[in-house]
């Protein structure tokens, strides 16, 4: 059987709250990273506060509607980012969000590899029928990566975001289980 948690460049891991807080407290200072990852305003939290937050989440234990992974590179075993899934159990569909906090790993295929591994997990382990995501117009690198993974651009909320005096669209992408399966069969040929 295929290893569900191992891609070509990265693997999914569980990191202790201490490790995550130590990384997050650095990543939050990178304004560009925060703006690409989230629409909320940047703010800064202490390492203690962040650790408390991760502690609370790990105490609550596993939930069917929420799955998250930390991500390490295979080569250096370096913790570079996170990936989260929100699952709508009634309608069998899920949303994904991912971020690479270590910026020297941008534009090198790590994000694409994370997403591919995530899709395999979502469609073969969770068995959902579609996977959705949102991103911002000012993140063409992510758009290109998601397209490579097989996501289709399905819609946009025009001028939703205000960044430095300029308005940008929010984009919505999705991939259906049958589209993903067809891609896998194509790969094998």
């Amino acid at each position: 059987m295929k290893d569900l948690f191992r891609g070509e460049l990265i693997r999914f891991t569980f990191e202790e709250p201490e490790t995550r807080a130590k990384a997050e407290v650095r990543w939050q200072r990178d304004t560009e990273f925060v703006r690409l990852a989230d629409g909320d305003p940047s703010h800064l939290s202490s390492e203690k506060k962040i650790k408390e937050w991760f502690d609370q989440r790990s105490e609550r234990g596993p939930k069917s509607e929420r799955v998250s992974f930390s991500v390490r590179t295979l080569e250096e075993d370096k913790f570079i980012g996170d990936l989260g899934l929100w699952i709508d159990l009634i309608h069998s569909e899920a949303w994904v969000g991912l971020g690479i906090g270590e910026r020297e790993f941008w534009s090198k295929g790590y994000g694409t590899d994370m997403m591919k591994l995530c899709m395999q997990y979502v469609f073969t382990e969770l068995g959902v029928e579609r996977l959705s995501l949102g991103l911002f117009e000012y993140n063409p690198r992510a758009l290109r990566s998601y397209e490579k993974c097989g996501f289709r651009l399905e819609g946009r909320s025009r001028k939703e975001m205000l960044r430095e005096g300029q308005r940008y669209d929010s984009l919505w992408m999705g991939i259906l289980r049958e589209e993903w399966l067809a891609m896998q069969n194509g790969d094998q040929k």
């Binding site: 069917s64 509607e65 009634i90 969770l126 068995g127």
Partner: protein, 195 residues
């Protein structure tokens, strides 16, 4: 759209701890009911203890657990309880448990009717792919009712139970979404329900 909580004889109603904590101790005074419902040697509980337990359970609202009380349509009388617990989301499978505590309402089609309502809820509202149940070999009335609702025999744990000096099997029954659709949804309406 159809009222998904109403059948021909009964309806599903909200599980009210006040009301149920009074009904439960009364129902469980009947050892036959207790034995048909549960393999555990169930101690009797006071209303107060039952209320405490139910309020705690009811507080934890979850997407995995659905509990209802059963009322007759004719007299709006509380006659039993039914619950659905999703055990596996990737297989979209749930266990159902059903008890008619008011013995006057046994063998008159109430159980079959409420099971039909619950299956419709499970397949069209929670969008499950299968529903599973277990029943004891010494409960042929329930087995017959589940067969009527469309459940198939899937397996048995041989000689699992000890009742009155002899051993009995526990039976597993199940129904798949497609089987339920074939039984309940005319061809034309099938597209509207989806698969």
């Amino acid at each position: 759209m159809k009222d998904i909580f109403t059948g021909n004889l009964v309806r599903l109603s909200a599980f009210d701890p006040e009301e149920m904590s009074k009904a439960f101790p009364r129902w469980f005074q009947n050892s036959e009911y207790a034995r048909l419902l549960d393999s555990a040697a169930r101690p009797m509980r006071s209303s107060k203890a039952a209320l405490k337990w139910m309020e705690k359970e009811a507080e934890e609202i979850s997407i995995e657990n659905y509990y209802f009380s059963i009322r007759t349509l004719a007299e709006d009388k509380l006659i039993g309880e039914i619950g659905l617990d999703v055990v596996n989301w990737s297989g979209r499978d749930a266990f159902v448990g059903l008890g008619i505590g008011e013995t006057d309402y046994w063998s008159k089609g109430y159980g079959t009717d409420v099971m039909n309502v619950l299956l419709r809820y499970a397949f069209t509202e929670i969008n499950l792919k299968r529903v599973t149940l277990t029943v004891f070999e010494y409960n042929p009335r329930a087995i017959r009712s589940y067969e009527k609702a469309g459940f198939r025999h899937e397996g048995r744990l041989r000689r699992l139970l000890n009742r009155e000096g002899r051993r009995w099997d526990e039976l597993f029954m199940g129904i798949l979404r497609q089987e339920w659709l074939d039984l309940n949804v005319p061809m034309a309406a099938e597209a509207a329900v989806g698969t």
